[in-house]
Amino acid sequence: MAGPERQEETNRALLVGVVRYASRRPLRFAEGLGDIAAVQRNLEELRKVLREGGIFDEDGIESLSSPGFDQFDHRLGLARDRTDGLLLVYFAGHGIVDTRTGGHGRLLLGLRDAEVEHGPGFPGWIRWEDVLNRLCSGKNRPRHTVVILDCCYAGNAAGAWEELDEQDKERISLLLAVQKNQRIDAGNAKTPTPYTAQLIRHLEQGTEESDHAVTLGSLQKSLSDGLRAEKTVGGREWSPLAYRKDGAENEVLARPTGGGGNGQKPISVIKPKREPRPHRIRLISATAVAAVTLAFTLWRVTSCDAPPVPLSCANHPPLELRVLTDPDLEPVVSKAVSDFVASDANRDEENCRRTGITVYSAGAAETVEAFRTQYGEWARLGRSGFNPVGTVGPQPDVWIPASSSSAYRAQDEESNQSSVLSMSVDGKRPLAYAPMVLLLPEKLAETEGRRAGLKLADLMTAMKGKGEQQPEVRRADPRSTDAGLAAARGLYETDAPRNVELRQRRQGRPAPSSKDLVCGLARGDSDEARAADRRTAALVPEPTLHAYQRCAGVTGVTRVAEYPHDVPGLDPVFVHVRWKAARLDEEKRDRAVQRLHDWLTSKDGRKAFQEEAFRDAPQAPLSSPSPGLLTIPGPSSGALTPDEATATLEKYRQANAASRVRFLLDGSGSMSRWWDGASGAREVLKQSLSRFGPDDVYGVWTVASAGSDPPYRELIPFGTHGSWSTTAGKDEQAKATKAGKAVDDSAPELSLEADIGGALRAALQQMPGGNEDDGHPQLIVLVTDDEDNDRMNADQRNDLVKLVSERKVPVVTVSFNPGGCLEGQLDLRLAEASGGKCLDARGDLAKGLGAEVSQVAQGHQ
């Protein structure tokens, strides 16, 4: 037992605080060594409470402010030699770790002349081991030494202590501000650093013991409780540490006369004083503010080398999270998630990564549909027909739609959805914002002062007034991205949806993302394509300008953004998806999702979005000015609401008349190799049929014949065949099931061959009349393995290609031959000549064909 009753002992305290650093040269891996103004407070207030604590005399307390290496070393030795009772050594300043020697990362304490440089040297730093050795040497040694370290990586001091002799461990105790491999903030200049603030508070107020004695044991508990709500720089719970042998627990550090006891407020939950900085300082002293800011941020000196990854990490690989997002958001979400995965927030106590994350995107409307009505199939291992595992992707743990409206539309409380999955939408504050802008060639744009605050219709009218040729406005596929849907919502206010969609269709196939749209404009290399780029505006999210600039390089036109106030913007939100069957790691997975959520909504996460030109609030300025964009976006109509989204999709559906699609399914003998199985011809066909709605018209022929027989047989007659959607009426579902069964029951004719040319000619002849503008998109789909293509000679093939070219009905060729779409192959020639698409077995046929059919199908209501 120690304390003032041992009057014969001399107790001393050496308080070292490095407030100023001589070198501030920043390196790439270190943010620089900044002054830490708060440390001056530490020294002043700590000295006061120790003096009042009754254990240390005024003469026994020495404060060293910003000492150099020699001064520190000298005073430390002197303090040790002159103390036979309790020695308290306190250090506050920069701490770093040197991991080059392996092990647990050696701690170095930064003194006044500390520098960070490449190479093995650490000029101006003192190794913690050397401090410890110094305390363990000498003829006269204190009865007990308590070392308090308030610096980054303080917890890394424990390793060297553990290696001490038992006798030395009994003589030396440690109080460490933070756990291993963690950095901490210094707080502002007007208060002590957070850890020392707690220390001072507890030493000052004492305990509820009769003599208010603050022992090492009670102090550590109070410090831990007091910092419980705080986080380290890496976003972890802040856990101060103590290392001591059992006998040192009752070592008394202070016995304040007026502290503790009844009537005092409990100290275990007190947070450090963090007074807001008075505005007055900002106004009157820019220099002072700069210094304070510097101290706050530069406390976070990083290590010279990252802390090592221990071998034990290989024993528990990270938990895998699946993050689904909108095609327009995939780049920014991938980048943000990648930053999170590499951050301290994603490391555990051992410095192992907790979580690995895979980001993927899928069509927005399909995703909502999958959540709303196909959740059963998603969880039940992909039965045939509409299968979200194939069309959307893995079962997500997190979904980040580009518009909060999608998140709300995906929930269906009236169905059995909750028996399969649940969704928690964090709708309080979106992760970011992006207004929809009219991205147009500068020549067609308004002057900068008139680029915001107008209606879309007015901006379009003004654009038409400036163009030499008829200007055009394009947007991405409304079913594929929320931005495309928001754009459709805006465009439908300018003209009838049917007219809008006719104009869109004339400009080409709808792009699956805003980036694809603008890069398609930028990369055109024909004269015609370049002219289209010069006359076309894109109604896209604001950050898309950067994508255009990257794709265009020096060849594109200069584009600027105009901000219509009546087109709703994007407000991506975080949705936590829980699968009811996923119970094996439920709590751990929840925590992993929560950590990702906390990081994405933190300053660091928001910064990742802002670096890609997203905004922090609807009217917030851009984080850095960007040519072509307005720093302040002007008024807007807010985000898309769920009702608006649903109504717009329905208008879009109705504006696009029902499709007319003829499938030619090669049913010759060779196709038996590809007929069944999860990626076989029947399944590929069925998955594409699931895209049709009740008004779409299609028919299926099997192509197999002998001699002069007709080249095809009817499998499904040309007509409407209901809907696979679970929200469709029973009759419609029954019709769809019947069509599916026809495909299921089909079989290839082992003895027959396919007359592809004959069947294709017949299909073209029997396609309903009309032209491209009658509103009914047409398509012929040929599913084959190319085995019988050699039945045609070169002239016959050329004639066939010529015919499809003249008829202008797009032909999608789906070939189980991996070389079907190579140059010169018939499949590719047919697709290119007709304006269709060639898909071969080098890729995912089911997904590819599904996407092609989705482009023309009117789809489900």
Binding site: E320, L381, A581, R583, D676, S679, N817, L822
Partner: protein, 483 residues
């Protein structure tokens, strides 16, 4: 983000629902031509999670599963197997398999793992330890067998292998550039290096670019490979590093290289991907894109996997040549593993093991080889008494009238693919493994990121080998344990 409290009864409900999903998902029986599974059997369906088979091999994997199902039917077993095709890229497949096994969000019994994923699934306790003979069998190629083990235990059975090969166009090299058959024969030998290929690339370049005499006029550069920022880049990087004698990790996945060693690997990679010989599009290309570029004549050489042989031969015929990749070639392929779901009854586990054994046995491996896969067993390449039986070939795959014109050349006696024994087998025996670590996901992401910086495009600003090596060293130390 509030969690709802779950009462005990709900947990029990969920367990029952899960059980129902696992055991009675046979309401759409996997009917197929030629099998007798037309009656909906109240069977226990084993679910195999696998990627899309984009390689086009007569649907052989499906046939093998069908053959096992028929065997079960004959033996009156209640078990049937079916494959669930996971979507998209390998990254997405891994993500779904991993997260589904960790959480139980989908009931997979068997997972078809890329060889690089086995340590991760094993270390995480997601797949069962298998009987040793599933990999410790002298018939299985040693390098391939190594991919099925982790820390001395067997966790998977090698299903199909893969190894990098160098394809070339004889019409460019021999007919055009006048390279002799003698020279090409040397290239087909063992222990060739990249330096042996460079003079041939120069020769083709000189011929093609001087007088544009290739018929298609398509020629652009000497070679192409999968250098976009995906797994293909890790494969190509591994091949360059291994050729320079550099191994980034120990056998247990511990990072063990120095910046100086990495520099050698970076230099070799830079040499191979030098702009003077590499197709510019290679830096944005995957397997499908590079196959197309080579088949359409834009390059004279192509680094690709064995499955490309059938397609390329169909297009190019005798104009196609193939040799082992100079230096080291990376081993690819997939292994079958059985999920370690504690709720799986012993009988179900036994059925899964039987299925895995069937799919990876001698006969199945021979079938896989015949269909164009790289088999994992020596006997498939050399065994005289092993052939693929009719059950597994399917009704028409062997029919001479169907597809023989497009099929690859075969040896007359055993009907194996002609290049299998002389080219493919030695390449597999000499192949290099990518780092084996449970933290492979983090490794490959880092490796790709750092190497991409070197060669985003031939037009990228120059970065020294030393700088790239230093960055790579620092980055790998952040993600892998090191001693």
């Amino acid at each position: 983000m509030k969690r709802s409290r779950i009462v005990l009864s709900l947990i029990w409900c969920a367990v029952l629902v899960l059980g129902a999903i696992s055991c009675t998902d046979g309401d759409e029986p996997d009917r197929h031509a030629g099998t007798a599974a037309s009656q909906p059997v109240p069977s226990a369906q084993l679910v195999i999670a696998t990627g899309v088979d984009v390689t086009g091999k007569n649907g052989i994997r499906k046939r093998l599963v069908d053959a096992w199902n028929e065997k079960q039917e004959r033996e009156k077993s209640p078990y049937r197997a079916r494959a669930v095709i996971l979507p998209g890229s390998a990254d997405l497949q891994r993500s779904q398999m991993l997260a589904a096994l960790q959480s139980g969000s989908a009931g997979y019994d068997i997972v078809n793992l890329d060889v690089t994923w086995v340590p991760e699934f094993a270390a995480a306790g997601l797949v069962r330890e298998l009987p040793k003979e599933f990999a410790d069998d002298d018939d299985i190629l040693p390098k391939v067998a190594a991919t099925a083990r982790w820390k001395g235990k067997v966790y998977a059975a090698p299903y199909n292998s893969d190894v990098g090969l160098l394809y070339y166009r004889r019409d460019y090299l021999v007919d055009g550039a006048g390279i002799s058959d003698e020279t090409l024969k040397r290239l087909a030998g063992s222990r060739t290096t990249w330096d042996d290929v460079v003079p041939l690339m120069n020769a083709v370049d000189t011929w093609a670019l001087a007088n544009k005499s290739d018929k298609s006029k398509n020629y652009r550069s000497a070679w192409t490979s999968q250098l976009s920022a995906r797994e293909g880049l890790t494969v190509n990087g591994t091949e360059a590093f291994a050729s320079a004698g550099v191994k980034p990790t120990d056998e247990d996945g511990t990072y063990s290289a120095s910046p100086e060693e990495l520099k050698k690997g970076v230099a070799e990679f830079r040499k191979r991907t030098d702009a003077s010989h590499t197709l510019e599009g290679a830096f944005e290309s995957d397997e499908a894109g590079t196959l197309k570029d080579f088949a359409e004549g834009r390059t004279a050489f192509l680094r690709h996997w064995p499955y490309a042989y059938r397609t390329l031969h169909a297009v190019l015929g005798d104009r196609l040549g193939v040799v082992p990749l100079p230096g080291a070639a990376a081993l690819g392929g997939q292994n079958l593993a059985v999920a370690r779901n504690p709720a799986m009854p012993e009988e179900r586990v036994e059925a899964a093991l039987d299925l895995v054994e069937f799919l990876t046995g001698r006969i199945s491996e021979r079938c896989l080889l015949d269909a164009g896969f790289a088999a994992t067993r020596k006997s498939a390449y050399t065994g005289s008494g092993v052939s693929c039986d009719a059950h597994r070939t399917g009704p028409t795959a062997a029919a001479p009238s169907e597809g023989s014109g497009n099929d690859m050349p075969r040896d007359k006696d055993a009907q194996r693919p002609l290049y299998a024994r002389g080219t493919l087998l030695p390449a597999l025996e000499a192949a290099a493994l990518r780092p084996r670590t449970p933290l492979y996901g983090a490794f490959t992401h880092t490796f790709i990121t750092e190497l991409s910086r070197l060669h985003t495009s031939p037009k990228s600003p120059p970065t020294s080998d030393e700088d790239v090596a230093k960055e790579l060293h620092a980055a790998l130390r952040k993600v892998l344990p090191s001693r």
